[in-house]
Symmetry: C4
């Protein structure tokens, strides 16, 4: 994963999920408020969406695990090199472990929303754990790297642990639109910051490398992280408007027409 | 911002908001309790106040951002100095970023209280994030400064992160007078401590500078911080009394007169 | 305060409050459960108790502040020594500041329970802040002391911050017997640990001093701290039994006699 | 305890409790949902189970304490060696202290579920404290050991403090199946990790020792910890299925037969 693609790929996954959530949750919220205007807005429909989301999550995680194992310079399921007496490709194994927990979270989604054997709130707890494990492994991942490298990954940890806490709160405050928006914004932030890390540490197209020991670079990146977050909120605002506008105006139209009729 | 004015200005903003809140929230509380005695106390009136607050917040943030960019020794929107190959005026850019999030919080206030498109609780979440981002940027702001300088800014962080947590709790316990008073006290503390930082690091009127490496100075300032907080509660108590006294006594008067009439 | 008495005195105050609470809260709990058996158990009676508690707290705090200022080697309200250009008796000032916040908490108790001008939950918030400020000042109190000295004070911080969090939770879960018992146990722990600190750092009766740099001393004291906590729970259990036994048996007696009558 | 057995024994206790909980809580959940299909599922039955659990916990803790004191190289209740002037067998005393708090937790369980003198929520608070004290003593236990030794014990702390927080939350959200499953998973994790520590630090059967200073060993063990957790969830899933399947299908059978009858 130590190259540009290795950061762009997971970044794209997180962006994808973030963007999808930035459409789904406003839609769900506006449907709950204006029940008559919503054709998809039945509870069953949204439950089926969560089921499909679980399948996609599980499939992505499976692909991720297989890819980490069987890329040309991957471990091919070999964990310990007995000849040279050292662990083999630990990085790939760690990434596969991260994917594993997202896979478990996907499976729990499928069972919780496809059958009624499991309590529904388990999906949030497993997702929270999957995100926490991602952050946990990142924490012990950075030993002995350069200052700037550590810094950009530490910034990522804020988004990761913030999301883990936020999702854990959702176990108790399920369906709170505020927490769902917060989670969505942190997910988009994580996705776009993965891309940023790729650009900073492995500049594509032969741009010159960043100076890893310059303190002003660190200060700029801290600020840049905040801009990414502001940008995530911009995306959220745009998608929120696009999603809720038509339904709200349909509802308004109905109200005014029914007012006309009764008048 | 590295001068006396640069600390007095944001300090005044926080003091202004703190003082205003120390009038508004007791008023709201006493109006909710004694409904008959309150002419302004309608829900709509307080919602309009929040709307106006949002506008003022957004305007202040805009002025702050413009000022940080276009002061004589500011960056004038130039982020990177290509000739000398270094980042330009990063401090000013960081301060502008802090203002940016307060601006976003103001915009969310305007939309959440001016229309009914957004869930109302979003205003607290964005304010909490804005305060958190302020603290987050301060954390990475202090590299390589003198001991006393770092210490007075670290003390500030208690007020900032305390406020961020308190406001986040308000998402779930909205309208809790206890949390609102706590937030108000932390806001006044932040404002008055900004002034104190100005006096310590950039003593006006040619007073001698503080010894930056004397440990007893640090101990005094820690204690002084607590006195500022006690002072914030004094202000809160005075404003609370002034605000709630007339309404409570009007209410009492009515009660006794209605008791007379029915007697 | 740097002597045996200076630790035994505050320790006694905390023990006193802890022991009182270990009687009061079980009594309140059992009265709420068995309403008929309780003559004191009216809500008004317990509110009057909280009022009296506030007065005692405020008086103790005032005495503490005056004592810290006017003991023979105290600062006598002098904060800065202008001749020798250094801060005067900062330790005493810091302790007085701690007492100040307990005094404010006492005042808030008096107003909240004596009038109905203040929301009742403010008493818990101010107490939580007073305890937090105590811990906050302790944190910056320990610079440059010996290892064992720092360690025993750090252990104290667990009880202090634990109590602060517990009391803050009581703002939202007021009257939860579990939180009240937890607070009581932490208060007794704090009191008895103050005495222990006195015995360790300033052994009375000319016992030999503890070796401040021996690591096994540190390990023993950590364990000893846990024993103090177990002891606090023993006291709590004894007082709980003594307090609730008579009322519960009166209640039982009534039940059986009324069963006899109806039979 | 510094040998393989000393880690396998507590590990087995935690595994035992974890496995038992992984049967009990799903059973309780499915019984609450399908009331008619459950013969054991009466509230009284489950309360009696908690009572028995308390007895077992208290007995185990007593055995643990006695064993730590009276093993051949134990302290035999001697705390201080007056001849050689040093503390005696502090490790054993610390372990006995850990068991002491689990014993107190067991006693509280017995009283809270056997009589109605104590509020029921006290059992969770005492268990939370017992787990916290275990973690607290572990924190000050690791001074001066080798890097890998410290690391594997630090990993354990995540499971311990995670469980303490989770159980404390159960005071307020009692009976939440999500928190109960989380606690169960962390308990299994703790148990299996104790075994892993035994294998790493004291390899039985004369296998070669692990290199205590190799950083890749640390990285592998961090990942291995996550695998243990995934394994804990696998066990949980299997037991959940085995436990809830028969009752759910009985319930279904009844439904369909009653549908047949009414048809």
């Amino acid at each position: 994963m130590g190259n540009f693609k290795g950061h762009a790929l997971p970044g794209s996954f997180f962006l994808l999920f973030g963007l999808w959530w930035s459409v789904k949750y406003p839609l769900k919220y506006v449907c709950r408020k204006n029940k008559s205007a919503c054709y998809l807005g039945s509870r069953a429909g949204f439950q089926r969406l969560e089921f499909v989301e679980g399948i996609i999550k599980a499939v992505f995680a499976l692909i991720g695990m297989v890819a980490e194992q069987f890329v040309p310079d991957g471990p091919h399921l070999k964990l310990y090199n007995y000849e040279e007496k050292h662990w083999d490709h630990l990085m790939n194994w760690q990434h596969a472990t991260m994917y594993l927990f997202y896979g478990i979270s996907g499976l729990v989604d499928i069972v919780a929303h496809g059958t009624n054997a499991l309590p529904v709130a388990m999906d949030r707890m497993m997702l929270s754990l999957a995100v926490f494990i991602e952050g946990f492994l990142f924490c012990y991942h950075l030993h002995g790297r350069a200052m700037l490298d550590i810094h950009v990954h530490q910034l990522l940890l804020f988004a990761i642990f913030g999301a883990a806490v936020c999702i854990f709160l959702e176990v108790f405050f399920r369906g709170s639109i505020v927490l769902e928006m917060l989670r969505t914004s942190l997910c988009i932030l994580q996705g776009s910051w993965f891309w940023q890390i790729g650009f900073v540490l492995y500049p594509p197209n032969g741009s010159p490398e960043w100076n890893q020991t310059d303190h002003t670079n660190m200060m700029f990146l801290t600020m840049c992280y905040c801009w990414h977050y502001a940008f995530a909120f911009l995306i959220l605002a745009v998608n929120y408007t696009i999603t809720t506008w038509p339904i709200a105006s349909v509802e308004k139209g109905k109200h005014s027409s029914s007012t006309l009729l009764t008048a």
